[in-house]
Symmetry: C2
Subunit: 329 residues, 2 copies
Amino acid sequence: MRYVPCAVIDSTLREGEQFARASFSPAQKIQIARALDAFGVEYIEVTSPCASPQSFEDCRAIVGLGLRAKILTHTRCHMDDVQRALAAGVDGINLVLGTSSFLREFSHGKSIDAVIQAATEVITFLQQFPVEVRFSCEDSMRTSIDDLLRVYRAVDALGVDRVGIADTVGAGTPRQIYDLVSRVRAEVQCGIEFHGHNDTGCAVANAFAAWEAGATHIDTTVLGIGERNGIAPLSDWVARLHATAPRLTAHYHLPGLVGLDRLVAEMIGLEIPFTGCVTSFCAFTHKAGIHTKAVINHPQTYEILAPEAFGLTREILTGHRLTGWNAVA
Amino acid sequence: MRYVPCAVIDSTLREGEQFARASFSPAQKIQIARALDAFGVEYIEVTSPCASPQSFEDCRAIVGLGLRAKILTHTRCHMDDVQRALAAGVDGINLVLGTSSFLREFSHGKSIDAVIQAATEVITFLQQFPVEVRFSCEDSMRTSIDDLLRVYRAVDALGVDRVGIADTVGAGTPRQIYDLVSRVRAEVQCGIEFHGHNDTGCAVANAFAAWEAGATHIDTTVLGIGERNGIAPLSDWVARLHATAPRLTAHYHLPGLVGLDRLVAEMIGLEIPFTGCVTSFCAFTHKAGIHTKAVINHPQTYEILAPEAFGLTREILTGHRLTGWNAVA
Ligand SMILES: O=C(O)CCC(=O)C(=O)O
Ligand SMILES: O=C(O)CCC(=O)C(=O)O
Ligand SMILES: [Cu+2]
Ligand SMILES: [Cu+2]
């Protein structure tokens, strides 16, 4: 089977800043950006330079690091915002505007025509500059499909690099996301970015379904931090791709994942969730007697990922009560 | 749309015991069983009474509580094991036997014919007793589909209540699980149970895909605890079903979820993962200014689940740097 590669847009420095416990200092942001770049993510998304004078400085400082990763910033679809983003020197601008009836009614109050008009003004302006441009419909999952396709077709025709599909409230299921991305894939020429929240536990699987349906870019954050319980964690995403085909992750420095997760965990003052993939303390811990016996014979019996690929080792617990299960085998 | 309901088989007292940090005392097991029953799970699965004399006692003690939930135990497909399970007085026996080439070669060494023969002996014996019987193919995802269907057809014909599909190493994707369960659904008359590990971050979504394809029973554990990084967490599963249709979770005592998660978190000495649904400290915390403003107007703008349904409240963070985002709106 041939797989189309998929770029990671890591948003720890934007979505991640929206996490309850995140409050990164300028020095910490630089440390995170360097660690993400060393791991090899293709893009780093940072908070809008319009959020505060400090966020403008932080954005410029990260641009100034000269990383391999492209630096994106996430702005509203306003001329003021994108001018400030250009002044900060970013490689690309991730525009977002709400299109669901919820957001149109209770947030910005715009009609779909007004959304397209705002997008047209800003995107047309940005065409003069050497930056990547993405336009995303916030809360895509709760936007009518007709509205959504109208907006995507319009911005695709204006020449955006990609459109963004956002499951802003984490409502989607993998089959819904697959269907939606397939519909969009059939209508636009540009790339497709997917951003999915984890409110119903499906963020990673939804990202994977989006990729299967033709998404070219996937949003992650380190440890999944973001609004509420966050989005797809980078480690989980890498685990999922790696299990599908190791060559999909061959360009990443996989042994760097655990250090990256630990770095951010320390900054937010929380443990790496034990339910996380690869980097959780127990991700490669085998306990039941029947498991430990087989794993000693042949690790693949109870492992889909090899810890060695991530610079880690497996742990085999013995001497507890469940060892006895196999003793009777 | 009409939805077929789905029963939860909570395996905190079996799969959960295989978690690195779990070592429940008899009194703790009883506390967990009572809390699961108060929440309303349909089934509670406990460690095999053959694992140790203590596990036999613990199983009997839980059976003796007279809970509404049915008590299952999880045993190998051996006559000794099921006799011990019957002696413990359980309502049902969840038989398991490895069918993947990995497990057949490196674990028990049986051919598929030998698997069917072992299943036939044990299931035929169990038909005399008033217990539910399930037969599961461990590592179903890495078993050839022909072998798998042969085994499931054979045990269905023997009259099992359900077959089990196990993604033992967490390798599956939602589309693969959907396809596999659909294949099995077309071949057997009995119920279908799905058990999926989280090694690649898809446990909840895979359980949901299994249900969409016709699975009738889903395995969960409190907080997702289990071998390695575990299986589908009960809270995430309930969140996913509730978001799909509240009537799918109407028979559960939803406000009991947070206490259940906290109880087990305390017993294992770890925090509820902040990435978890519903019960994580930040599941209903809104931070970015544009979010907080809209949520105050109308909570649904950034919430797919209402915290009130779970006896919880939303938290709105203000006074941090990102509040300013909306100040420029
Ligand atoms: O810009 C996007 O596509 C996503 C914005 C966001 O964080 C969300 O909608 O959850
Ligand atoms: O009995 C089953 O279906 C599942 C056993 C188990 O824990 C697994 O295969 O991961
Ligand atoms: Cu988001
Ligand atoms: Cu398991």
